[in-house]
């Protein structure tokens, strides 16, 4: 303890080691509690591919939780047991030494990496490696500072061409359509709300008007950036009728926090009614 004295510490400090152990265990358990009790979980999944992601998430959560609690508690235990022992206490080495540690890490973590990293990739494949069905409903989504707009091809099933120079938000010409000269554009239906029929695959063509944005619907388990100059697309099938929030997750400027729209999933016939009503507004 003369060491403690020298650094200006009056009394013995072995209590501190024990205290550290206790505090650490409390912290570890308290941190794990809300997870174990599912107090904070993603909203219910309404997509056909989402369950794979959710399973992946809960598997990872189990393994991570195990590793987290294990490591913290071992740390606490060793500190409790081996801190501030009486002078000249016998020093021991962990049986097995570094070799054991290395092999354990390789085996356990290696297995985990394999399990999650390789086998787990099918959840990703579900989203990105399957092409959209040919009969999928095509909708174009445009992200701009700071709103989403969605375009339905209308009766002719074709999207009118986009002319950036014609974009006029004051006039609600968000896509820069040119109905005067472009017949295909005349019957395009533009909406601030993404309305889709339930249980029908939607192929969302993504177009960025100005800077980078992102399309995120928690319930759909879909997140994809809009990259200016790059024509990306996602496809998904919503299985539950309802109204869900679409948010932008890519910092896009001062209005980022307020850049959102709504996804409303309707029964097929309601959807057609909605389309008609929208068409009349154009």
């Amino acid at each position: 303890m003369e060491i403690a004295a020298r650094v200006g510490l009056g009394e013995r400090l072995d209590a501190m080691g024990k205290l550290f152990a206790i505090v650490l265990v409390i912290i570890a358990l308290a941190s794990a509690y809300p997870i174990a009790k599912h107090m904070y979980v993603p909203p219910e999944d309404i997509s056909t591919h989402g369950h794979a992601i959710d399973d992946q998430l809960s598997d990872t959560m189990a393994e991570a939780g195990f590793a987290f609690l294990g490591a913290q508690i071992i740390l606490a235990f060793f500190v409790w047991k081996f801190s501030e022992r009486k002078e000249g206490a016998k020093l021991k080495n962990f049986p097995g030494g570094a070799k054991l540690m290395v092999s354990v890490a390789f085996i356990i973590v290696g297995a985990e990496v394999f399990a999650l990293g390789v086998l787990g990739q099918k959840a990703w494949a579900n989203v990105y490696f399957t092409p959209p069905r040919p009969d999928a409903l095509q909708i174009q989504a445009q992200a701009g500072q700071f709103a989403f707009y969605f375009r339905y091809p209308g009766a002719d099933g074709k999207f009118g061409a986009i002319h950036p120079d014609k974009i006029d938000e004051g006039n609600q010409n968000f896509f820069g359509l040119d109905p005067a000269n472009d017949i295909e554009a005349r019957d395009d239906i533009v909406s601030g709300e993404l309305t889709i029929p339930v249980n029908r695959e939607v192929h969302l063509l993504m177009h960025a008007k100005d800077v980078g944005h992102s399309f995120y619907v928690r319930e759909l388990r879909i997140q994809q950036d809009f990259v200016p100059g790059l024509d990306l697309s996602v496809h998904f099938t919503a299985t539950k009728i309802g109204r869900y929030e679409i948010v932008c997750t890519q910092l896009c400027g001062l209005g980022h926090y307020n850049m959102k729209a709504y996804l409303s999933v309707m029964a097929q016939d309601d959807f057609e009614k909605w389309l008609k009503q929208k068409a009349s507004e154009q």
Partner: protein
């Protein structure tokens, strides 16, 4: 070998006068302290900004008295506007990542102790060394200049994604000159860091004392060496990226800006650029940067832990190899920041695998730290407490990395508070814990006076508990889908989360307040602390073989000869349970 004649001429005459001694000093120790001071200043600013952000998030319309003085436009009547929130966010990130996490554990402690620990009188190129600090300082000044110009600081975050960062004024307030200053500042910072890294490497390779083989170098020296190798390549990539960005903004080129963008109702006069190009360049630097921040702290913590355990690690070599492999792998994983950014989905898988693989060396290190504690005689003090805290933080931050490494889960968690919690714990708090540990451990050597131990431990408890209270809930928020970088929460899902946000804010304010104990201790001990002996911690490495504080040429002209591996603890030595690296007495092994 280095006889006196071999030494650079300038090392010979001790510097004269205040300016040469303390301001434009060539002495690596003074430069190290200067870096530390800069880091301290930056961290205070960064913390202040985070306070403002946290306050605004939970009390959006409450006016903060006097804030309008900081920016009349940004905070009319003391209420933070959305764009000013983003300015604060950008400056917080930039200050913390570049001027704190890169400066404090690496440049500051590295400069001070690397030459001493290898038995050198100074860095290989003292003039470069001085230049690298002053360059960094200029970078800092250019960055904070953004606060005072009418345009205000940029709002595109520390990652400055193009085209938002590239199109200029139209992108929003602060994206005019504010953004230019950001780009210039970072470019300058790169130059400073490159000079520093070059110096570290040359010094480590060529100025080692007789008998100091590479494998006899202390772990933290190794950490600084590996970090400089990473920094050397990482900043060499960020610099070109910044140059291209500045050209896009000022010279009308189109590296990052594609055709047909309409920003603020104006068609942008650019064509053909690739926004993803910026992301690739930035993250190719950005991910190694994470390890530039954390590796030095790993080294420092191992160094301190060994000393407090009074026994060597199960294997220092394995730790060193792990740090090397982490450094190596860090070059293949940048894409995991871009899983949902429109990259080819196949490359996402390619990036995911090495990312997950990094868990292996990380786990090995953790297991070795834990396993070494077994059967130790652990001395508990502020330094070792922070070292233990580092391990705990590193584990907590590490496991959450396991989620984000998987593209499929990243679909749900990308850009949520889960990510924020993850990198704050593993890269921010953990490496800051390393700095705290290093400060309590080395303060006596650097100033000649010990820090106050009681205050130190009080500081530890408040910080340790506080940081968990702040950053654990971030993960919960992320799981629910709380998006990051929102200046206020107008979303449907926010209602039930607000109490948690309030809790975080209160924790952040109080934990931040606890840091004033540290600041006070830092200043108070400088004048009133107990005088530090030559070797207060009964350490074995070279820094403990010289007076506290060391003379201007470290070893008083003598050239130490090394006889042992760095950590001869738990042996029968003449002084006690340890043998100094430079003592000729036979070692245990």
């Amino acid at each position: 070998m280095q006889e006196a004649s071999a030494q650079p001429a300038h090392v010979h005459a001790p510097p004269e006068g205040f300016i040469r001694k303390h301001v434009f000093s060539l002495d690596h120790k003074v430069i190290g302290k200067q870096y530390y001071a800069l880091g301290l200043l930056a961290v205070c600013m960064g913390m202040g900004l985070s306070w403002l952000m946290r306050f605004h998030l939970v009390w959006p319309t409450t006016r903060i008295p006097g804030l309008e003085l900081l920016s009349k436009v940004g905070a009319p009547g003391g209420v933070i506007t959305p764009e000013y929130y983003l300015s604060l966010l950008t400056m917080h990130g930039t200050l913390m990542v570049f001027f704190v996490l890169t400066n404090a554990p690496f440049a500051a402690f590295g400069n001070y102790f690397l030459p001493i620990q290898i038995g050198a009188e100074d860095m290989a190129f003292p003039r470069f060394n001085m230049m690298s600090f002053w360059t960094t300082l200029v970078a800092f000044l250019v960055l904070v200049l953004a606060f005072v110009i009418p345009d205000g600081p940029p709002i595109s975050g520390w990652t400055s994604y193009a085209p938002l960062s590239a199109v200029g004024q139209d992108a929003g307030p602060g994206m005019g000159w504010g953004m230019n200053l950001w780009g210039i500042s970072i470019a300058i910072f790169c130059i400073g860091s490159l000079l520093g890294a070059l110096n570290f490497i040359a010094t480590t390779l060529d100025l080692r004392a007789k008998g100091m083989t590479l494998m006899r170098m202390p772990i933290c020296t190794w950490a600084w060496f590996i970090t400089s190798c990473i920094a050397l390549l990482a900043f060499a990539v960020l610099l070109p990226a910044c140059i291209l960005l500045i050209l896009d903004r000022t010279a009308g080129t189109s590296f990052f800006i594609p055709s047909g963008l309409v920003v603020s109702d104006r068609l942008q006069p650019h064509s053909g650029g690739s926004p993803l190009l910026w992301q690739h360049l930035f993250w190719f630097f950005g991910h190694p940067e994470v390890y530039i921040a954390i590796l030095p702290s790993m080294g420092i913590v191992s160094h301190i832990l060994i000393n407090s355990m009074r026994k060597p690690l199960l294997s220092s070599k394995v730790i060193i190899y792990c740090m090397m492999s982490i450094g190596f792998l860090s070059w293949m994983v940048w894409g995991h920041h871009m899983f949902v950014s429109g990259m080819n989905p196949f490359s996402s898988l390619l990036f995911s695998f090495p990312t997950l693989t990094i868990t292996i060396p990380a786990t090995i290190m953790t297991l070795i730290w834990l396993g070494s504690l077994y059967g130790a005689n652990l001395r508990i003090n502020a330094a070792s407490l922070f070292a233990l805290g580092f391990i705990s933080m590193f584990v907590s931050g590490g496991v959450s990395g396991f989620f984000l490494a998987q593209p499929s889960i990243d679909i749900v968690l990308h850009a949520t508070y889960f990510v924020v919690g993850h990198f704050h714990m593993v890269m921010g708090v953990a490496s800051i814990f390393g700095v705290f540990a290093g400060t309590y451990f080395w303060y006596g050597k650097m100033t000649g006076r010990m820090m106050n131990e009681k205050l130190g431990q009080l500081h530890f408890w408040l910080t340790f508990i506080g940081t968990y209270c702040i950053f654990m809930p971030f993960h919960y928020l992320g799981l629910v889908g709380n998006i990051r970088r929102y200046s206020s929460f107008v979303n449907d899902f926010m209602g039930p989360l607000m109490p948690l946000h309030k809790f975080i804010t209160i924790a952040a304010l109080s934990t931040g307040a606890a840091q004033f104990i540290f600041l006070f201790n830092l200043i108070y001990s400088h004048f009133k602390g107990k005088p530090a002996s030559e070797n207060p911690w009964e350490g074995t490495t070279l820094e403990w073989s010289i007076p506290s504080p060391p003379p201007w040429n470290n070893f008083g002209g003598k050239h130490p000869v090394i006889y042992h591996d760095p950590y001869q603890y738990g042996v029968k030595g003449s002084k006690g349970d340890y043998i100094m690296q430079d003592s000729p007495e036979p070692s245990a092994s």
